[in-house]
Amino acid sequence: MPHMIRKICFYPRPQNAVTICVSARVLFNMEKEQQIYEQQGLEDYIKYQVEHETEPFSPGPAFSFVKALEAVNTRLRVLYPKSEELFDVVLMTNNHSEKTRLINTIKHHQLFIEHLCMTGGNSPIGYLKACHTNLYLSADPVKVREALEEGIAAATMFTPEKMTKVSETQLRVAFDGDAVLFSDESERIYKAHGLEKFFEHEKAHENKPLGHGPLKGFLEALGMLQKKFYGKGQRMDCPIRTYLVTARDAGSAGYRALNTLCSWGVEIDEALFLSGSSKGPMLEKIRPHIFFDDQMTHVNGALEMGTVACHVPNVAYNPLERDFKKKPIKRKYI
């Protein structure tokens, strides 16, 4: 039976929710503390955290993303009061001595985060699996690689120097195509044999869907939630919007991408084919809360223009079997 918290609304169970595990270092700004740890060592770091226990951290790059997730949840709860198909945000940290400070910070910023995983030096991977994680965001590329290798969608989040203002009411998620939503099969051809061969290959395989990429599942989860709004006549006012921002052009290469999404039964709201030009300006117009790309040049280009960008490294991965078409669980509760 779903569990009531603070008698306001219940909290979804991980197996029924879209679970987003966020590292404390990206949800909040912990740069100063990180510096102390790196330059002065663990003991000084611990001492500093304890001394500043009641001082809340300021927001980090994932903050507006999490706020937008909560805005979606608020609207879902109105439409489907008994459904557990919501975002479940889990705060992850494996640092010592900041537990109370983090709890105080969550309260200060009025975030609706009740699910905490403070692993005290142990690897988060086991916990990510136990939480049925749909997406893991961290500042640590090593942990992100480990998660991807275990079949968990993950990305390394960076902080733009100046963050553009984003919507508080509509969650916007932008994805690169190759090696993010799609497999890296075509990208490898481009890298090994150049642009000409890439185009030839795409044209020859126009109607053949591309393989799955590490973030396909997360896009599907977003689509599942979007349909819940469409089902209640709220397509025009949907608080989730998804974007494909790809270097592919609008010819065969682009067609193949769209065809692939179609074959998966996955909708994307806007597809932007940039034919190789920089993604920064386009992202600046879209203003997504988060952007995923496998190329650091694109990640940096996005960061320069104020977009919160995340790197999805290329790893060989085996996606865990997960069915996103979960049946809503009808529960009566007091």
């Binding site: 569990h3 169970r13 010592h96 709890i103």
Partner: protein, 257 residues
Amino acid sequence: MVSTIQNTDVKQKDSARAVVVAVSSRAVFGSGAGDGLYGMGVAFPLLQALQRVNERLLEENPAESLLFDVVLITTDSQQQQQSSSIISSTRHYGLEVSRFCFSSEEDFIESLIKNNVQLFLSTDRNEAPQASQKGVLSALLDRHVAPSEQLRVMFCGDAVVQPDTGPMPASRQAAQSFSAQLGEMRRRFGMLDSPLSIVLVTSRGGRESCGGALRTLRSHGLSVDEAYCLAGAPRSPILSVIRPHFLLSDSFSCLED
């Protein structure tokens, strides 16, 4: 009838300072002593972990007196007849057990109290709650958990946050003093590479419950290494990652999942 036999192979601990942990021999050795020697039971890894904590404590300070003092309790009438096998098996495996207590099922609690036991661990679903009711901090040993080298003690936070009113039940007092001793032991080691880890799990309630439990344990002198606030999520997936040797709670509802 209660009888206590000292293990002459093992140096006896300072009774004023040691943390006496009683483990039921049935949990340590399981059943059946072929050739006069028992096989290794469910609690074997636990004893090895307790031993490792002692070794590391003595490494830090050879004169350390705050050590685990392990006592084996035998209530099983079958095993009582095999008392020599229990003692010889203990010696055979080199287990750091300082005393053997033999009693009947009726008066085993008396032997716990007589031996100043601060924590009683058993695999028996009746023994543990019975001892708890008489004021001895008790826990059920988890059969299913894969052992780790590090001693991992888990507190169920839902029982830790206590109302301020009313007299303190004896078992809560026992829990508080055990927490204080455990906290002191934990402080002998640094953050990393500790042979002992304290884990807090709150199943019900949100982050405020977790925060409250952290504060309560801290007021008892215990700092927590790992904390998990489950907000109603099922516990068993997390338990299999945490791998605690045992769970401490006031009530045994902590074990239902």
